[in-house]
Amino acid sequence: MTDAPALSVIGPDGDAGAHDSGLDDEQLLHCYETMLRTRVFDEICLKLQRSGRIGFSVPNLGIEGLQVGAASALRRTDWIFPSYRDFGMALYHGVTPLDMMHNMFGNALDTAKGRQMSVHFSFEEPIHFYSISSPIGTHIPHAVGAARAFQMRGEDHVCLASFGDGGTSSLGFHSGLNFAGVWKAPVVFLCQNNGWAISCPSSEQTASEGFAIKARAYGMPGVKVDGNDLLAVREVVSEAVARARAGDGPTLVEAETFRMGGHSTSDDPTRYVPAEELEAWGKRDPIERFEKFLVQRGLWSEGDCERVREEAFAEIDAASKEAGAEGAPGLETIFSDVYETLPDHLRVQGEATFDLARRKGEAAAGAGEFPL
């Protein structure tokens, strides 16, 4: 299984043959719309960053199909342990662009209370979309531990842990996959091999023949899939989820794709990404491919794209305006959530901060009194 070539389902012309995705028409359209909404969200964020409204974002271009395909294989009772590019998965399961925008602005309504850089989302509902950490790979063993909790309680939920090609070199990859193998934990490991870890090409990340093969070091199946083919990703991840749910243990999925933008808004990829590669992958856009598939199925007609884009733009643009108008988190958020209960030394530090803010004339930042 590990050494097989990457699975594709949708051909270049959109033909998926007799493939049964298990999705009805409405669901297929939901997938399509989510891809477009993901792209629009990304575009708006990049604009917000360029105009200085937000500090930071990470381009998502080209991996919308991967994210939506993987997300579509999960139930809302499953948990997602995402990487910082995975907000398409959140959108698929009903997290609202507004909630996401609160995070992008780090405002008072951000679930992370403005403590994290933007794109480091945390949601509990409508699906557990686990709080994103910057240190690469640390969330992988968390997914395994959470999965073990499901095992212990006899629940058949599954954890999806997503990370990049660079993430496979991290400590968490090694310990997470090893523990999962020994425990037969219900986890699907999704390696998004987009060719680059910032400026390090996959070929310098590891000497192994791709990433799926690393599964063998942990006694689990490893599968390669065409990451720009939504249905192929859905197929492979669904199989892995089914295995996990049935108690048959974890799987490592390698989705082959390409990072079409810079690493982040702070990065200039023209310094190191060869133009030919970009061009070649540009022809494999997952949204166009899925459109062709929908055409073949008679589910898409000229203008759909524009319509969905416009609706998405209206919604997300409005969300960004609303979130941008929201105030900063209160001063007390510097001190709360360090522990469940505020310890004395933090109360003292907090009071001094409120006092100083008052003297500086910034008391409005909080209620004017230290509330904790």
């Binding site: 945390s122 709080s131 395994v144 531990g145 400590l171 360090v338």
Partner: protein
């Protein structure tokens, strides 16, 4: 009440809480059938089954990383790190993840878990079986750090740590594991975290200490008493969050302070105690605040008895601050 050693009290504490709460489980290297290299987890797999007390592969990063995942999903993991010296592969998981999870997720995800680990010298373990790394962890907001020095506290603080909603590093003074015995109540009880223990009342010199240094300090205080110096000995018990007010009160009481720990001096835990006093009670001080600590070197083997603070070094310091 049974008379137990510290390691027996730890074992008893684990059993008591596991009987009461089915979500508590124990994981770590060799904690299962072998019962841990110090036998702290002896009998747990037998009584609670392999699902609730199990061996892991040799990866501290994996032990703590998976424990964080269990903790956020309804379990209460008690992870053992075989020697505190081997906790550093898990440093990132502890400092970047367990300690910061509640904060970064705005309280959506939390990591209520305990990391138990034997620390300190006195067993001829050399560089890597003797370290006292508490200061590394006490500089980490979001963590709690607890160090018992008696069997009663070992059990009561451990249970309180397991029931605590935040991640707790529970440092067990291995030098005292079997050398100290004491009465331990049966069943579950808690010793409240962030409270000091007055080991000995006195009005001349205040000594702050914890873990394996407590009996050393007590002996030095007894010798000081023979010389007419009346020492007030405080066992800090919880290093983070510290009862700072209690520390300052005790320091002000005598105006003469000695701080004792095994770890190296430079940027050690004792520095924080000195700094608190220098910031909030300096006007009460009648003598320099002295630290008696391990040296600023790695931990030696053959000469560890010179490295570790002993009664003599503590007594020297007591006399110096007393006669200043």
């Amino acid at each position: 009440m049974a008379t137990l050693t510290i390691v027996q009290a730890v074992n008893d504490g684990l059993k008591s809480v596991m009987r009461d709460d089915p979500t508590v489980l124990v994981l770590g290297e060799d904690v299962g059938p072998k019962g841990g290299v110090f036998l702290a987890t002896e009998g747990l797999t037998d009584e609670f089954g392999v699902a609730r007390c199990f061996d892991t592969p040799l990866s501290e990063d994996g032990i703590i990383g998976t424990a964080v995942g269990m903790a956020m999903n309804g379990l209460k993991p008690v992870a053992e790190i075989q020697f505190q010296d081997f906790i550093y592969p898990a440093f990132d998981q502890i400092v970047s993840e367990a300690a910061k999870l509640r904060y970064r997720s705005g309280g959506q995800y939390t990591a209520p878990m305990v990391i138990r680990t034997p620390y300190g010298g006195g067993i001829r373990g050399g560089l890597y079986h003797s370290q006292s790394g508490e200061a590394y962890f006490c500089h980490t907001p979001g963590l709690k750090v607890v160090v018992p020095s008696t069997p009663h506290d070992a059990k009561g603080l451990l249970i309180a740590s397991i029931l605590d909603p935040d991640p707790v590093l529970f440092l067990e003074p291995k030098a005292l594991y079997r050398s100290v015995k004491g009465e331990v109540p049966e069943g579950s009880y808690e010793v409240e975290l962030s409270t000091l223990r007055e080991v000995r009342a006195g009005d001349d010199v205040t000594i702050f200490c914890y873990g394996a240094m407590v009996p050393v300090v007590v002996k030095a205080a007894e010798q000081a008493a023979e010389k007419g110096i009346d020492c007030h000995v405080v066992d800090l018990r919880t290093l983070l969050p510290l009862d700072e007010q209690g520390v300052l009160d005790a320091a002000r009481r005598t105006g003469r302070v000695v701080v004792v720990h095994e770890a190296p001096r430079f940027c050690g835990y004792g520095a924080e105690i000195s700094a608190l006093i220098a910031e909030h009670a300096i006007e009460y001080m009648e003598a320099p605040v002295k630290r008696v600590t391990g040296f600023d070197t790695p931990f030696p083997n053959t000469l560890e008895h010179h490295y570790l603070p002993d009664e003599r070094r503590v007594l020297d310091a007591i006399e110096q601050v007393h006669s200043f």
